[in-house]
């Protein structure tokens, strides 16, 4: 259009990000911004739990029985520093929630990471080599997806827990949960990566670089993988919410985290026993926190799916 050639703008990565469509779309979506702020708050407070919480809920010596079942501070009988009240052992509800959220988030992130790793790896292999490897991997995926998710997770976590040696049981439980959740969720990533890989593999640049003698592994990771990342990213965000939900469900059913290392699900399970004794705060506040966390993640994921979808631009 203009005749005078401007020198190409050198942009740093940050500047490129502020200029991007995605950032623009984010700014104009009120619910996305709100969800991001809420999520950031939840994550920051969870990881600052040791600093913020008035009590260390794991320290049995800090619990005083005369503080048991105190109601939240705004109801008569509530006491400082127990803002949201205490449970039957005198444990501060707010501290329990902050520590519990941290466990829930860590398990969520870890299971998304594991399933991404496995899913991308197997998807690349299946799509790049094709043939019987592809058939076997995709068949395994089909079978996993044809059993309801909760069932797979319950079975895996309850059975694997049987095999853990007693000394290892405490530390291993979180790992078992991550494994149980990642067990089926890798399939989704593997399918996306495989489909994209099969398309990319036939393109000329792949042919060309194969002629030059690029090894298969390098081809998969450096050339094909970057082209599959967008849908993977969206799926990972939505799966993060799902992973937190499934972990909470398992803990609620009693096959997840134990009461001495409670996640939000465990807190709800424990609090549920006092539903009829009038101490509703023991179960209500962890439930609200869990809902806030999952709703925020899902709203972000929902927005991201639309923002990164080229068809909707």
């Amino acid at each position: 259009m203009s005749s005078n050639l401007e020198p190409a703008k050198v942009q740093t990565r940050m500047q490129r990000f502020w200029d991007s469509d995605v950032w623009w779309s984010f700014k104009s979506h009120k619910s996305a911004v709100g969800a991001a702020i809420v999520l950031a708050l939840v994550i920051i407070t969870a990881f600052l739990a040791p600093v913020l919480s008035p009590q260390n809920p794991y320290d049995l010596a800090a619990l005083e029985l005369w503080n048991a079942e105190l109601p939240p501070i705004w109801i008569e009988g509530g006491q400082m520093p127990f803002l949201l009240g205490t449970d039957v052992q005198g444990r501060d509800i707010l501290s329990g929630i902050l520590y519990g959220t941290r466990i829930s988030i860590i398990i969520g992130i870890a299971s998304v990471a594991v399933s991404l790793f496995v899913g991308i790896g197997l998807g690349l292999i299946a799509g790049y080599y094709g043939g019987w490897i592809d058939n076997v991997l995709m068949r395994i995926g089909d079978v996993l997806l044809s059993i309801p998710t909760v069932l797979v997770a319950i079975l895996v976590s309850s059975v694997v827990q049987q095999f853990l040696p007693p000394a290892f049981r405490e530390a291993g439980l979180a790992a078992v949960l991550v494994f149980a959740i990642a067990m089926y969720s890798w399939v989704q990533y593997a399918r996306v990566v495989r489909a994209q890989t099969m398309v990319e593999r036939r393109k000329e640049y792949v042919m060309a670089s194969r002629l030059v003698g690029t090894p298969a592994r390098r081809m998969m990771f450096n050339h094909i993988l970057p082209n599959t990342l967008t849908p993977i990213f969206v799926a990972a965000t939505l799966n993060f919410g799902l992973a937190i939900l499934i972990e909470a469900t398992l803990s609620f059913l009693g096959v997840g985290m134990p009461p001495n290392q409670p996640s939000l699900g465990t807190l709800i399970r424990v609090g549920n026993q006092y539903l009829f004794s009038g101490s509703w705060w023991i179960v209500l506040f962890p439930s609200i926190q869990l809902c806030i966390l999952v709703v925020a993640v899902n709203m972000l994921g929902d927005w991201l799916r639309d923002a990164l979808n080229p068809k909707l631009r």
Partner: protein, 323 residues
């Protein structure tokens, strides 16, 4: 067409065999049943006899074969904990789960379809946007939290509905129903609501998406041009064209609901198969776990296969696409 049916059926059989294999592996991995069935003083001779009687001296694959044949005949063995026939225990519990799923499905259609239509035709109105926003929340809320919330509000605070159990049931011989007694009807309200919430949002979103698609099509424009009243266009012409995917999804989801009902059943202490399964998990009662896994997978696979095949009959394009 025949090739398609054969392919779908073989797929279903393959899935069932894999699930049975999984169940069998769990079965044989969780420990030696001989140790659990005999006491500590049993002699080696007694152990060997029992081992032979149970077929445990045979090679792994032979044992799996026997397991499959027995499972196909409905023989899943005897519960470790109750010493009762596993299939009897599960079939006693089945009506409770099935009624719960049925009522939940009914609620999800009766509430979800009109909401979907409204959000599609009044897209810009505040109540449509509010419903759309609530639907994200509805999909995100964990089912057990919803259940606990319902109990807290409607049983503990208001005292309108019972919070656990199935109420009085009527025995019809081969089926026990809670739908015919007053206390049974009251009892099913909260569990069915909490189980259906996710379904309601799913149905609503599906109907909305389909309606938006159909409303853009030429025959609707033509109907408008002809002066057909709006209500008739929306409900007689457009909605009818959306119902097929809704029916399909509902049918496919029933399998998932039966499995997922175990969470609801735990919250409401509803005496269905799911509660039986969760109790079996806590006591490592493997025969029940294995049987439940096989039965739920069977329901799931049969429903999916039927829906797939029905689709192929209705929509010929699918037959070619899957080759």
């Amino acid at each position: 067409m025949l090739a398609f049916i054969i392919k779908r059926l073989s797929n279903a059989v393959f899935v069932m065999i894999s699930v049975t294999f999984l169940a069998f592996v769990i079965f044989s991995a969780v420990g030696d049943p001989v140790d659990q069935m005999l006491n500590e003083q049993a002699t080696q001779q007694q152990r060997d006899d029992l081992r032979e009687k149970l077929g445990l001296d045979k090679p792994f694959l032979m044992q799996f074969g026997t397991f499959v044949v027995r499972a196909a005949q409905g023989d899943f063995g005897i519960s470790f904990r109750n010493q009762r026939d596993v299939l009897d225990m599960i079939s006693e519990r089945f009506p409770a789960t099935f009624e719960l799923v049925l009522v939940a499905t009914f609620i999800s259609l009766v509430v979800g379809v009109p909401m979907g239509v409204i959000t599609a035709i009044k897209r810009k109105s505040w109540y449509a946007e509010a419903m759309q926003f609530t639907s994200i929340i509805g999909i995100s809320l964990p089912s057990f939290v919803v259940g606990i919330g319902l109990i807290l509000v409607f049983s503990v605070w208001l005292g309108w509905f019972p919070s656990f159990g199935r109420g009085d049931t009527v025995d019809l011989g081969w089926w026990t129903t809670g739908l015919l007694t007053r206390s049974g009807q009251m009892s099913i309200v909260l569990p069915a609501l909490s189980l259906s919430l996710f379904q309601v949002t799913l149905v609503m979103r599906l109907v909305r998406a389909e309606m938006l698609e159909v409303l853009r099509s030429d025959f609707i424009k033509f109907a408008r041009a002809r002066g057909v009243p709006a209500r008739s266009i929306h409900f007689r012409h457009a909605l009818r064209n959306c119902l097929m995917p809704v029916v399909t999804m509902t049918a496919m989801q029933i399998g998932g609901l039966i499995a997922f009902a175990l969470v609801t059943e735990t919250v409401f202490q509803w005496p269905g198969m799911g509660l039986l399964f969760i109790q079996a998990v806590t006591f490592v009662d493997v025969p029940i776990m294995a049987a439940y896994l096989c039965i739920v997978a069977l329901i799931f696979v049969v429903l999916n296969t039927i829906v797939d095949m029905a689709y192929a009959v209705i929509d010929p394009r699918l037959r070619g696409a899957d080759k």
